[in-house]
């Protein structure tokens, strides 16, 4: 059913309709209502060198040696990027034709992007950064594709940092080949007034391995979609995420895991911390197709609410058509455990520090999914700083 709605100024500017709460997947995140002013594309904002440098240095991974591919205000910054030894092709990949509002929006903004191809086991960390500097309200888009060839492996870091009022749309495509491995870490630490909209499309061939971790801590409004499709048997996907949200931040993640073939394993672990009036949402859908026997899929989302006004909504969906599978989901929400708090205090740890320790322990379970030690430590430090500012 298509109910004709009068176009909002934002929709006029984008030239497309935005998803609204009447659509089931968008019931908690009414983009049409929330993006309440136009964010024109292609504003060619001039970035001051000092602003860019400062934002790059603010990355939690600033001290880690990575090959950085840096986009500034929606365009590739060739001079700052390091492509040494990488196989790549400039230009936006066109493969993804998925009917999804965020992908349509990404197309409407006309993204910048490239395709990176990993042919073998390269011992480098590749960090794709997007930096937004202060400027007029505007929208920017990226679309990148990462191909990990059969038997190859890659580590991809995505960092999104910025200042000011903007909409950033990011579409990432990951193709993981036969026996290939991808470690992906994403940090969303946009400006406090920004909107971050992303869609990740991942496909896994036979024996492929995915280790993914997403940290969501920036932005006023955040919506992250992910679609993961198993195309070959014995593939394994571990997908972890953490929210560290405060003030009126809103973050909504919707993942769809499609077990299209037998003998694959998927694990989703989300640990969400919400303070003040923040609201977190986790929607996880697992589809097990008729022939996908011996599927092992588990999903869990846990929320720690640090304020009476914080909110968490979880919506697990299982669509199982095969009859010999192990699938499960679990969701919890609560405040800090008072027995834990008393135990720590009874050993001399002051209340505030005891709470930080417990929050850190809660969110830390999601960090365990990060394979690289230095990167995991960087995330722990990020969480400690976040807690320190409470």
């Amino acid at each position: 059913m298509n109910i004709a709605l009068t176009k909002t100024p934002a929709e006029e500017a984008f030239g497309i309709a935005l998803p609204n709460r009447r659509m089931e997947e968008w019931r908690w995140t009414d983009l049409r209502a929330r993006i309440d002013r136009p964010y024109p594309a292609h504003q060619n904002t001039v970035a001051a060198k000092t602003d860019v440098d400062r934002l790059i240095a603010s990355s939690p991974f600033a001290k880690i040696k990575t090959h950085r591919i840096i986009f500034v205000n929606g365009s590739l910054d060739q001079a700052r990027s390091n492509f040494t030894g990488l196989t790549f092709e400039m230009g936006v990949p066109t493969s993804s034709a998925m009917d999804d509002p965020l992908i349509h929006l990404n197309g409407a903004i006309e993204p910048a992007g490239l395709t990176l191809r990993f042919e073998s086991n390269m011992d480098v960390l590749v960090e794709i950064m997007h930096i937004t500097t202060k400027g007029a309200a505007r929208s920017m888009a990226l679309r990148n594709c990462i191909e990990v060839a059969d038997g190859a492996s890659a580590t991809i870091i995505e960092t999104y940092l910025g200042e000011g009022d903007y909409v950033l749309s990011s579409v990432m495509e990951f193709e993981i080949g036969v026996g290939a491995r991808l470690d992906r870490v994403k940090v969303e630490h946009e400006s406090a007034t920004a909107t971050h909209l992303s869609h990740v499309v991942t496909s896994m061939a036979k024996d492929a391995k995915l280790n993914e971790f997403t940290l969501t801590s920036g932005g006023a409004l955040n919506r992250q979609n992910g679609t993961y499709t198993f195309l070959g048997e014995n593939a394994d996907a571990k997908i972890a995420g953490a929210y560290l949200l405060n003030s009126k931040q809103h973050a909504d993640t919707r993942l769809v895991i499609d077990h299209a073939v037998p003998h694959c394993t998927s694990r989703e672990v989300f640990k969400c911390v919400m303070d003040d009036h923040a609201r977190g949402i986790f929607q996880g859908k697992v589809i097990v197709r008729k022939h996908a026997q011996k599927t092992d899929g588990k999903q869990s989302s846990h929320a720690l609410l640090l304020s009476e006004n914080a909110e968490f909504d979880a919506k697990p969906e299982l669509e199982i058509y095969a009859d010999d599978v192990v699938c499960g989901h679990g969701a919890t929400a609560g405040d800090i455990n008072h027995d834990h708090l008393f135990y720590l205090q009874s050993r001399g740890i002051p209340e505030a520090e005891a709470k930080s320790l417990l929050i850190g322990a809660f969110v830390g379970e999601a960090f365990d999914g990060i394979v690289n030690d230095t990167m995991r430590e960087a995330m722990v430090t990020f969480a400690e700083n976040w807690l320190g500012q409470r």
Binding site: H340, Y343, L344, Q345, S346, R347, P350, E353, L358, A361
Partner: protein
């Protein structure tokens, strides 16, 4: 060191009184055993002394080293030297035992205006004490009490006590759930901590523990009051005759 005077305590959200005028005087170097039937208020006493939420003191006072203990936060009490070995030690997922010990010790030192221990000094300090309690390095790396057996949890409590070096140790049913070998290890650990500067309150239902941790004084707690006090021989009397005499007396 500890002076409890006419302590009346009720649950915060229930009118029922649990402690009904308890008085107790504990001096440095002394070991006091508090024995009593279930429901007599033994655990409540330990929680009120360590500062747990949910209790309301309606009458009486507790002085610790001359200060008003009841006015302090649990962490302040700990820094001043109060330690409760829990009957049921709490499992804390995600916090490694070693990290927990380090934060606890350094928080206490900081509160007392002492210098924090360096990491190598701290490690040496803990390892020495852990070895005496048969606590492996592997256990120290695990999250606090998570997946520990009953005996391991009790040994871990004693290790915390040995590391934090409190001046008042309150042992709440430390013998519960221990077989005789585990009980001996725990008792040896406790006895090693006996010193002229340190006092202990050993709360127990059974006399068995007191064969290993020999008290200077034994008190019988019944229906929220100390109804009889004596030397260590009182524990044997109780073992022989049970608590019936005291329970009836109150009823």
């Amino acid at each position: 060191m500890l002076k409890i005077e006419n302590l009346h305590v009720k649950l915060e959200d229930e009118p029922r009184e649990i402690l009904k005028g308890l008085s107790l005087n504990v001096k440095a170097g002394e070991v006091h055993a508090i024995m009593g039937p279930n429901g007599s208020g033994k655990s409540t006493l330990s929680y009120v002394l360590s500062g747990r939420d949910g209790y309301e003191v309606t009458e009486g006072a507790v002085a610790f080293k001359g200060e008003d203990l009841l006015a302090m936060d649990p962490n302040t009490r700990a820094a001043k030297g109060v330690f409760l070995a829990f009957q049921y030690p709490i499992e804390i997922p995600g916090v490694a035992t070693m990290q927990f010990l380090k934060v606890a010790l350094n928080s206490q030192r900081k509160a007392r205006g002492e210098k924090e221990l360096s990491i190598p000094d701290f490690m040496r300090f803990v390892k020495e004490r852990a070895a005496k309690l048969n606590i492996s390095q592997e256990m120290l790396k695990r999250p606090v009490n998570v997946g520990f057996s009953g005996g391991e949890k009790k040994r871990a409590e004693i290790l915390q006590m040995a590391v934090l070096e409190p001046s008042l140790c309150i042992l709440d049913e430390t013998d519960s759930g221990l077989d005789i070998d585990a009980l001996k290890v725990v008792a040896d650990g406790v006895n090693a901590l006996r010193s002229p500067d340190r006092a202990m309150i050993v709360i127990t239902h059974y006399q068995r523990l007191l064969d290993y941790i020999v008290p200077d004084f034994v008190h019988v707690l019944s229906a929220g009051k100390i109804v009889k006090s004596g030397g260590k021989e009182l524990a044997h009397e109780l073992e022989a005759n049970g608590y019936a005499e005291f329970v009836e007396k109150v009823a």
